[in-house]
Amino acid sequence: MSQVEGRRPVELLLQVNGLTTYFFMKDATVRAVDGVTFNLGTGETYGIVGESGSGKSMTLKSILRLVPPPGKIIGGNIEYGGLDLLALSPAQMRLIRGREIGMIFQEPMTALNPVLSIKQQIMESLDTEGMSYQEKLARAVELLKLVGVPSAERRLEEYPHQFSGGMRQRAMIAITLARQPKILMADEPTTALDVTVQDQILKLIAGLKDSLGMSVILVTHDLGVVAQMCDRVAVMYAGKIVETADTLSLFSSPRHPYTIGLMGSLPHGRERGTKLRPIKGFPPDLTSLPEGCSFAPRCEFATVECREACPSATEVAPGHMASCYHTARLVEFKGIIEHADEEGGS
């Protein structure tokens, strides 16, 4: 694949090519991730946005090869540091998880161990070779302070249930940072949190990314979170990336009908009484996707060709890809922000 990306990153850290993960159920096959291609640059925050069942979380799980059965990665490659992650042995993969690529989840309570103290869980994740207990303890305190947990020394002794939702997510981040990963993958990290706490956690992730020189892949359903956090963004629908662009271009000139529909569904105008423009119909059934474009049944622009063959990604502006036959017809659509003159980003 020769995808040209906007603001081409100085150095590519991770390249995902044609990643395909299917779930083989008794009587059906769920095409959860269906040929996903993207890359992540050093120091970049890459967003993956989509609705439930679009395959965004499973893309992250596939990258770490944590797909639960009956799911199976059946195609593609994931290049990281000159290695193909999909070709590594399970033992080699264990060295990648945590140390190179760390991950945080939506509900930290289910990711944390309820019977171990926060201290035990952080110290367990530290690379312990040659470290004394005192050194490890000091490092654990340092990490907990780094993620903004007040009275870190005392709270280190506590258990997950004594932490609030926001504090748990901080603790989860501290545990993940203990291994100093180069890539932090965050799967809906703030969805379960209140808006003021979400704000804190997002700013924390952005700050840590800069200060520790990490790169971030952020999965979310919230375009507001994307707008605030991401350099580039991919929109997923039914297991495929349907559009990818730098964030500003996506918000000012979306070129895929699904992206346009998502934006039309969001109340962002000021006027009360204006109608939202929702996407008609329902999310697709991943076990029986239609021939051709998966979005065609819900798409107001769909034509005969859309129902016959799936469109491939075309470049509509430098670094801005959309998988739609009708991108030319969509030029007139403005996104959420008025920014029509600056196509594609610089």
Binding site: V195, G224, P278, F282
Partner: protein, 334 residues
């Protein structure tokens, strides 16, 4: 708003309180320690005009849902009064309350747990119509079809069960059930929070249409400020069991007065990548509703707090027509 004591208001809530006592350890009982309680709603007053949509916003645990449940007496309030068309709901007996429920209905957040999985749509709606004797038996069938059409569902689906529907369709059915009794007043408690964005928009449009079509008075509870801004006429902002600010929706979003409202608006992620902020809106998390801070309950987190705020709890006062704020410095905030 509830500024002038005009009786054009349909619903009036006065000094409503509801606390949930915590289970006390035996030792504490023997030591006669005072019992602790979660003060979920701690003195809320508001009023709604007929046909108005009032938004209730606030973070989880601020008492939004408890307030809603107290208004319908799904929860018995400890103190205060709820009047609907001049009648005191809090004093009604069971029979009167059942009559009253014809006028007041609720739509719940979770369309998966609020529909009985063993009842077909027909059974569910028929039950509502018969229990409340809404229409003569001969007209039930046509009323059912009418209800389903009203919420955008095909009457063919009548004999199916909730499990066969998607989240968005179930929420439509929840709305149909609430509308079956032809109510005047609806509480929508986070009606779209568990739905995907594209489906959310369908339901919001539906609610807005029905509100106009049926001249409903709606109390719309949500934590999503974008939706509140879109669908409501007025907004009440809650923090730790009290309403801290109430205003016309446009005015509130353009110019919040209460420091907490300011924080809440600033914390919501803007849909504009050019409007990024590095600093977060507020530190810390809301304190526990068991041990409320003295004075203004927002003072430990408020950038404007002074000695007065630590001592004296501000009362709700009108700072301009249609705007009530409970802050000692509501004049200085902008």
């Amino acid at each position: 708003m509830n500024s002038e004591p005009e009786d054009g208001s349909l619903l009036r809530v006065e000094g409503l309180k509801k606390a949930f006592p915590l289970k006390q350890p035996v030792i504490d009982v023997l030591l006669r320690k005072p019992a602790l309680a979660v003060k979920a709603v701690d003195g809320v007053s508001l009023s709604m005009r007929r046909g108005e949509t009032l938004g209730l916003v606030g973070e989880s645990g601020c008492g939004k849902s408890t307030l809603a449940r107290c208004i319908l007496r799904l929860e018995e309030p400890d103190a205060g009064k709820v009047t609907f068309e001049g009648q005191d709901i809090t004093r009604m007996n069971k029979r009167e309350l059942r009559q009253q429920r014809k006028k007041m209905q609720i739509i719940f957040q979770d369309p998966y747990s609020s529909l009985n999985p063993r009842m077909s749509i027909r059974e569910m709606l028929e039950e509502v119509l018969t229990v409340h004797r809404i229409c003569p038996p001969a007209q039930v069938a046509s009323r059912l079809a009418e209800l389903l059409e009203m919420v955008g569902m095909s009457p063919d689906t009548m004999d199916r069960f909730p499990g066969e529907f998607s989240g968005g369709q179930r929420q439509r059915l929840g709305i149909a059930r609430a509308l079956a009794v032809d109510p005047e007043f609806i509480i929508a408690d986070e009606p779209v929070s568990s739905l995907d964005v594209s489906i959310q928009a369908q339901i919001i449009n539906l609610l807005a249409d029905l509100q106009r079509l049926l001249s409903l008075t709606v109390l719309f509870i949500s934590h999503d400020l974008r939706i509140i801004r879109h669908i409501t006429d007025c907004v009440a902002v809650m923090y730790l069991g009290t309403v801290v600010e109430m205003a016309q929706t446009g005015a509130l979003f353009d110019r919040p007065y209460h420091p907490y409202t300011t924080v809440l608006l600033a914390a919501a992620p803007a849909l504009d990548p050019r409007a990024r902020r590095k600093e977060y809106a507020i530190e810390g998390e809301p304190p526990s509703p068991i041990n409320l801070p003295r004075g203004c309950r927002f003072h430990p987190r408020c950038v404007m707090a002074t000695a007065k705020c630590r001592e004296e709890e501000p009362s709700m006062r009108q700072v301009e027509p249609g705007r009530m704020v409970s802050c000692h410095f509501s004049n200085k905030v902008s």
